[in-house]
């Protein structure tokens, strides 16, 4: 009964936490508050939860064992993970949650099937006031199956996403895959409803079949989606796990699980959509992965017009004698892990009296805030980072823009070419500056797989090579000046 209050507090802390999390100034506190609520709920459950027969929980050894192992491993993993590998981590943890939900469903299903053969026990755990045994079966098995399916999909899906993000797994799709997925889904639903309907003999083979198929579905659901879209996918799977957790809430009438789960389910879904908006794409478009496909095709497009190259030493001079330099970091900088060198370059130039700033595009990189995280890791002073709007105003007063491994986010097509897939996405208008130097390894397109006119503009000159190497030699040059 005190437990109810604890759960209530937990629910409130989740809502508050999420609210604070969505505001930069309070985000961290929000996270702590939610964590606190969670702790309350967990401790409360361990010591105050009473079974139907009023007995407290048993197997404390196992429980604490699990908690300790989980905490230690979780903390270590979370502490030592590279900033830029964090989406992977999130994906991994999300998968764990999904798996947990699935396992719960498995146990509860066996319980339920077991009860069925001692009819007198049916009443036990009957969660719905005034519902007959049949209705109970329908209700519980429905919830259990929902938890199983959603949890498993979220688990296997997250694993694939994780594999893709750290490059272990590459995009893969076969003709008619979408059709295949739909069929698979229908089969799963069919089997599930069969179990729910025919409760005389709870057939656990069918149950496990559903389990396997759900895992498969998760795999095939994520496999074809472009690797770069994983942040979106993870956010989606995240909300799935939320719903799975909510199922647990129904099963145990546990309001903390219920509210927490639904909250994440709803917020996660919205967040997914917001993410897509930020890259101006539709969720559907991401899921069907047509975009990822285009990336391949993009490479084929032939370059129009000609571009001019620039040498490292010329670049060094240009930069050193500029009054204001703007650095536009992109995905390439992260790939090359060149954030530290970049920071050094910035310092060298600043010592020479050059005013150096970074122009951060909201969707530069592969996860929202990727560039902030990357540069923060190299201790770049936060005040040097300009949001897109601020940057766009400053470009016209800038002598040199140095584009480091960014491409789509500086692609004028977004403004000019209505046919382009990124049309409408706000971009960094680097052309306004006097000079624009673009560093990348080749003329290959970026994430969106489209040509970039910018490279062929008169003001633009290309500085080919891996970002890290180039920057290193650039720093060396500048030192000698």
């Amino acid at each position: 009964m005190l437990l109810t209050i604890l759960y209530l507090l937990a629910s409130v802390s989740f809502i508050l936490g999420l609210k604070l999390l969505s505001n930069p100034a309070t985000a961290r506190r929000g996270n702590l508050i939610a964590a606190g609520g969670m702790a309350l709920a967990i401790v409360g459950t361990i010591f105050l939860y009473r079974q139907e027969d009023g007995a407290p929980l048993g197997n404390y050894g196992w429980i604490f064992g699990g908690l300790i192992i989980g905490s230690v491993v979780g903390t270590l993993a979370a502490k030592k993970v590279q900033m830029t590998a964090m989406p992977e981590m999130v994906s991994l943890f999300n998968g764990m949650g999904g798996a947990c939900a699935a396992l719960i469903s498995i146990t509860e299903f066996n319980q339920l099937a077991h009860h069925l053969h001692q009819p007198h026990e049916i009443a036990i755990g009957d969660i719905f006031p005034g519902s007959s045994a049949y209705q109970q079966w329908m209700g519980e098995s429905l919830i259990i199956l929902a938890g199983l399916i959603i949890g498993s999909v979220s688990f296997s899906g997250s694993m694939i996403a994780w594999g893709k993000l750290n490059g272990k797994i590459r995009d893969f799709s076969f003709k008619g895959q979408h059709l295949f997925n739909i069929v698979l889904l229908l089969v799963i639903i069919g089997l599930a409803s069969w179990i729910i309907g025919v409760h005389e003999n709870a057939n656990s083979t069918v149950f496990y079949m559903i389990f396997i198929l759900s895992l498969l579905y998760g795999v095939f659901f994520v496999l074809p989606i472009g690797g770069a879209d994983m942040p979106v996918v993870i956010s989606l799977l995240n909300s799935f796990t939320g719903v799975a957790a909510a199922c647990g809430g129904f099963l145990y009438h546990n309001k903390a699980m219920l509210t927490g789960g639904i909250l994440v389910g709803a917020a996660g879904t919205l967040l997914t959509i917001l993410m897509c908006k930020a890259m101006n794409r539709s969720l559907l478009n991401v899921l069907i992965g047509s975009f990822g496909g285009a990336a391949a095709a993009g490479g084929v497009q032939k370059a129009q017009g000609s571009f001019k190259e620039i040498s490292v030493s010329d670049t060094a001079i240009l930069l050193s004698y500029a009054q204001r330099v703007m650095i536009v970091p992109g995905y390439g900088l992260a790939v090359a892990q060149a954030q530290h060198v970049c920071h050094e370059l910035e310092r060298l130039l600043t010592d020479k009296g050059v005013d150096v700033k970074y122009a951060i595009h909201p969707v530069a990189g592969r996860m929202p805030g990727h560039m902030n995280v990357l540069l923060a890791e190299a201790d770049v002073d936060y005040d040097k980072l300009l949001e897109m709007e601020a940057a766009n105003e400053l470009f016209s007063h800038t002598d040199v823009v140095l584009v480091l491994g960014a491409n789509d986010v500086v692609n004028p097509a977004a403004k000019t070419d209505a046919a382009s897939p990124i049309y409408g996405m706000p971009i960094l208008e680097v052309e306004l500056a006097k000079n624009c130097i673009v560093n990348k390894r080749s003329m290959k397109p970026g994430y969106a797989g489209i040509e970039n006119d910018l490279f062929f503009r008169p003001k633009t000159s290309m500085l080919f090579g891996d970002a890290k190497k180039v920057l290193e030699s650039l720093c060396a040059e500048i030192k000698t000046l």
């Binding site: 999390l21 930069p24 048993g58 981590m89 396992l103 799975a244 957790a245 917001l274 993410m275 902030n372």
Partner: protein, 103 residues
């Protein structure tokens, strides 16, 4: 249909709570700046780790002689804890990156 209506009426409290939570979930993060998308995702991820409660219950109820049940429960607890603890820690680390935002 009839069936459905009855169910809804029967569990109306749940239905209400669910609907209200959905509204809240949407309202609450409605205006998040895109730079916070990742930490927010990560935070939400940690919150759904609340599923650990279910795992603990399963574990605690399990018949000490039923090894498979014990093992499954044990696994569930570990995984759930990973989700919760890892989730919150990672989020906190991410947000450290944005600390200057306070300025």
């Amino acid at each position: 249909m009839q069936e459905l209506l009855e169910k809804i009426a029967l569990y109306q409290d749940y239905v209400y709570i669910v609907i209200l939570m959905i509204f809240l979930g949407i309202e609450v993060i409605g205006r998040v700046p895109s730079v916070l998308h990742t930490p927010l995702m990560s935070g939400a991820n940690a919150i759904h780790g609340v599923v650990i409660i279910g795992a603990i219950i399963v574990m605690g109820k399990a018949d000490p002689n039923n090894i498979p049940a014990l093992v499954i429960g044990f696994l569930a607890v570990i995984l759930g804890t990973l989700n919760v603890v890892g989730g919150f820690v990672v989020t906190d680390r991410m947000l450290e990156m944005f600390r200057h935002k306070k300025k």
